[in-house]
Amino acid sequence: MPKMNLSHFEAALLFALFSSVVLGVITKKTDRERFRYGLRCFLYFMGAVIGLGWLMYLGHG
């Protein structure tokens, strides 16, 4: 099994991607709604990652 080293951002990006796919698939009724909801979840995830990242950066001074 190859070993993988990911940065915080890469790991969070992949986590957001796969979670968003599942959340999109299970929640809505049409494919269009699923795609839009999955995309929205992904953007929310990434917004939270970047926002919290800046918050921690600024909090450390």
Binding site: L14, F18, V22, V25
Partner: protein
């Protein structure tokens, strides 16, 4: 004041148990059984990728431990999360891919990815249950 509304009867176990059981064993398997192949493939790809990434990052598998409340929640909950990946967890454990818990952010992410894969599979199983019982298309 007690409500007069009668609770709808629970769906018979035979209608949903095969889909949920197969969905636990093989991520997306319940959807394949119910002829939702596209959704099943997306579930399978997501859970499988997340689980394999967790293994490649050398994430640790949780073993149930009890002690103080936080230890019990983390270790028993983590074990259940790992176990929810079904055959992926069983095969990884049997073939010796279960890692020791070591320090480092990559290993820590790997551990979380392994648990998250199981949690996503639980969502897939719930979706399969709702489809099998007719609560969802």
């Amino acid at each position: 004041m007690p409500s007069n509304a009668t609770k709808p009867p629970a769906p018979p176990i035979g209608t949903w148990a095969p889909a949920v059981g197969l969905g636990w064993l093989i991520p997306g398997g319940g959807h394949f059984l119910l002829k939702r192949n596209g959704r099943g493939a997306l579930m399978l790809a997501s859970v499988l990728c997340m689980f394999l990434l967790g293994l490649m990052m050398r994430g640790a598998m949780f073993q149930p431990q009890t002690g103080d409340i936080l230890t019990t929640i983390i270790y028993c909950g983590g074990f259940l999360g790992d176990l929810a990946s079904g055959a992926l967890y069983l095969l990884a454990t049997w073939f010796g891919y279960s890692q020791q818990d070591v320090a480092g952010h990559v290993h820590d992410y790997g551990t979380k990815f392994l648990v998250a894969a199981g949690l996503l599979n639980i969502l897939a199983m719930v979706d399969a249950y709702e489809i099998a019982t007719g609560k969802k298309d």
